[in-house]
Amino acid sequence: MTDTTHSTVKSLDLPRPSSPWIDAMRRMMRNRAAFVSTIFLSGLVLVAIFADFTAPYDPTLADFASIRQPPSVEHLLGTDEIGRDMLSRIIYGARISLFVGVFVQVVATSFGVTLGLIAGYYGGIVDVIIMRAVDIMYALPNFLFAVFMVSLLKPDVGSVLLTLSLSTWPFSARLMRGQVMATKNADYIVAAKALGTGDVRIILLHILPNAITPIIIQFTLGIATVIMAEAGLSFLGIGIRPPNPTWGAMINKGREFIRTSPHLAIYPSIVLGLTMIALNFLGDGLRDALDPRMKEVG
């Protein structure tokens, strides 16, 4: 008798420990494009963080004896117009791009999500004020606004971070508000209210977790948008100034020499393009993994 019980228990094929998040991660790793993108981005992040060790040369060190050299053993991606090592500049450029992308998204998403939560949850005049501000930001030509703001401020990383955060928050505010509106009259929220749960607790414990999926996706895809915007500013020669290596500025400078030394513009373009593609594949993979029902929205 004991034996039988024992064997039954033993033969039960217990499922591996699982939660919606672990399931989602498994689904995502089955998505080949998202998997490769994750590896690429992790590699890029590591290389950028440890740029001091991974970059073969000082990215600002000019060597006028070897300008615009094609790729060689000494300089794997060649040298630029004043003899700086292209690979090292691209690596240090990754540091700036990734930092700007993540930082702006963290600030803008936190700000936008908070405002969106408040607007959606409380409604009324607060909602009107916040959402009209969002409308105005939507109507402003975003990039011109960024170019304008950065040109008014000091041309450094801080101004770029501030400006891009300012022009990015409305997206998550609008998204979050929509999510709150969709969940706030759900039975479990009404029940929580009936039990006397406070607003802050309801927002943090019940509404936010149920609305977090699209925010995570928007966060990831938004990093790509911000990196692109930063590169665009650097490309126009506004924003982060030389000799700091930024991909946008490298591509812009490289275009001057595109007839004779196309590698100056091509390599940073390829790295920037690959980073964008990886971020978008990752965002897409996250979307499919976290919420298989969710339809693609622009």
Partner: protein
Amino acid sequence: MQRYLLQRIFFIVFSLFGATLLAFTASRLAPGDPLRLMAGDQNIPQDVLDEWRARYGLDQPILVQYGYYVGNALQGDLGKSYHYVGTDVTELLGPAIVVTLTWESIAIVFAIIIAVLLGVVSALGYNTWVDTGAMTLALVGISLPDFALATFMVLLFALRLDWLPVAGYETPAHYVLPAITLATRPCALLSRLVRASMLEVLHQDYMTTARAKGLSNRAVIIRHGLRNALFPVLTVIGILIGRILSGSFIVETIFNIPGIGRLGVTAVLQRDYPVILGATLALAVAFLLSTFVIDLLYGVIDPRIRTAG
């Protein structure tokens, strides 16, 4: 419907005021005395500067100045450029808007046609290699920064193959590379949306009914499928057109097209605030109008909206 239209118009006017007030305040708080900028290198005595300041209303509080600006703008006067002294901002904006509208409308039409084709083909071939291929292409299209794409295309088509001009705007051939550059991203975004929307529509009951009536496959897909599928896509087209219009800075700068984007960027670099404000205003109007027109189009496409309150 009427009430809705009034609401929309109120919204547009409100947003325009907000956006211009923001840009106006920023330009007035900016470092650098506008009059000194206008004077350029000339040495002008202080009392003349003061007189100018009074004449242009620059000694008034910002809100009063903004009031003047709006008053003048409503009469078609956007002030004079600081950089091209004596030239009206409207004189600079007018030709630039015409240039931008010309080459960008090509890009927009091109983007929409390709996007609908790609989206419908992927949806019909759901989960086949056609679908995967088209959607991978779309994601790459979304990811490529316009200046990187432009650089590649100039290198390949203009310098290596010598098929198209590098930059400028004199002949239709000059429009090709900028139009492709500009169209790629919106086209990729739209094609994904058309596909998603089409997939949703394909399984509706009315599609089955249409087939059961014995309609040809093409008639079912175009008359019943596409018409319904394009409905949600329309809103996004409106937003995208607005974004395309305002997203031309980089492309116009790269290809040296004297449109509103290049005018705006040049004005920022020259701190020519009246021109910056004018460009902001023009682009905000373009954005809001395009979304408004799309709202109106809803009524044309979907009879349910026309009849509803």
